[in-house]
Amino acid sequence: MQGSLKTGLYALAIGAIAVLAAAPTQAQKLMVGTTADYPPFEWVDGKGKLVGFDMDVMRAISYLEKYEIELKDVSFDTIIPSLQSDKYDIAAGIQINDERRKIIDSSEPYIEVLYGVAVVKDSPENLFTVFQKGKKVGAQRGTTQARWITKRVVEQGIDVKLELYDTNDLGILDLVNKRIDGFVSNTLPLQEFVKRNPIRISGVIYDLRAHFAYLVKKGDPKGLVPKLNSGMAKMKADGSWDDLKAAYFTGDLLRITDCNAKHGDTLNVKRDIKKYAADLKGCLVP
């Protein structure tokens, strides 16, 4: 009786050591980190595959510039520290701003995003009334929009309460439940939430803009910035860039799993980028 108890414990201990010893050895390819819960830039489809505008661009550039990549999902808070400590070589799907430029390098900004204020569909609130005295406004924690609200509204002495959320969907949930009066977010994901929740975008804050870029470690020790820029230039030249933009930013993203099934899979990016982008656009955009 006691013997089997002991054997069990030994087995557990040996198992633990074996697994720890079998830690993956470092592969000779570039690691790309992203936070895969941010459609249309990056998310995970029904088959567990990383999809989205950034993911396809990363795959395409790696093919065009002849290097191997591995895409990995990382929590948002650890992306920039992970770049600095060489855990990842490229971070995709992140905004570049002056504050971040001090600690990292980046490719050319590739998209400018605008920020909208979502309100409950049948409420009389609008872009101006949500920033008035006594209102509660939500935003995702640690983002450009959260900082903008703090600086341009709260710190200006306007009595607006800023509620922070880890993710957009939690903020939208609170908005639908009327616990906040408005929710500020990037208009691209916001459009998708509008389709599926009783909310509307009451307006766009033109004072607030942000640029997305691909980030690398400060000093770019692996010389990736020129490769990223030339890869993007090649995609813009052959039209695949615009097709991908149309596919992801205007298409019906719920169809992504079906569309990927129909056109082989995302690996096709590497075979014929132009055809892949055109097919995806044809499939996602009604």
């Binding site: 006691q2 201990a13 198992g15 050591i17 489809d45 808070d77 969907d169 939690l170 949930l173 389709k195």
Partner: protein
């Protein structure tokens, strides 16, 4: 997809608990029987240290600290190390408590029949202590299982992360998806504790439980725990 996440959660939990047991058992024994200087100078500070730091912070320190010294740990390994060692320290206290609640007469009797101190610990005290440790250990199981969701912060695709994938893909089923995740966690904890209960019964010695001092039937206990 949630089930894949649940499988990853179970893998994480099993390895964390195993590492915890591998750390906790020797630590617990040393804590009771080791030299006093070791306890005061080494073990107590370690226990205080790990009790005082949140697991998430520990995970970050191990994950990024390892790469500072040139060691590339994956998020999976780093979270197992952090929560496993944290759990090991807690488990050492469970083991310590269990050893201390085995009647001191057991040790005296074992020494009286000529066993060395370590043989007595090994064959008399520990077998009884482990039985006593099982009920509080099932608490530790439930704790570690739920804590494993922190591994998401290091990019491990466990149950909560899979849940987030679904929420992100479908744009706002948050409540439903998280409720299902909660249900899966509940079932895992429930089943695990039932299993541990069975183990407890399977190894229980008739008439033996937390021992009061000077109990009768020394001889019988000695027999059955061999």
């Amino acid at each position: 997809m949630l089930l894949e996440g649940a499988a990853e959660t179970v893998r994480l939990t099993a390895l964390m608990l195993a590492l915890g047991a591998a750390v906790g058992l020797p630590f617990g024994v040393l804590h009771v029987y080791g030299p006093r200087i070791l306890r005061v100078a080494v073990l107590d500070p370690i226990v205080v240290f790990f009790r005082g730091i949140p697991s998430l912070v520990l995970m970050m320190i191990i994950y990024f600290g390892a790469s500072e010294i040139g060691l590339d740990l994956s998020g999976f390994i780093a979270s197992i190390l952090a929560i496993g060692v944290r759990s090991g320290i807690y488990q050492s206290q469970i083991v310590r408590g269990a050893i201390q609640s085995v009647g001191s007469g057991q040790m005296l009797a074992a020494r009286a029949i000529g066993m060395s101190k370590w043989r007595a610990i090994r064959f008399i005290v520990i077998p009884q202590a482990l039985r006593l440790a099982l009920p509080p250990w099932s608490n530790e199981y439930a704790g570690v299982l739920k804590e494993s969701s922190l591994a998401y912060a290091l990019g491990v695709t466990e149950l909560m992360r899979q849940g987030r994938y679904i929420v992100a893909r479908t744009f706002g089923n948050s409540l439903l998806v998280y409720t299902v995740c909660a249900a899966i966690y509940f079932v895992l904890v429930f089943l695990g504790i039932r299993l541990l209960r069975k183990v407890e019964q399977r190894f229980s010695v008739p008439g033996f439980d937390a021992a009061p001092q000077g109990r009768a039937f020394f001889g019988r206990d000695l027999e059955s725990s061999r």
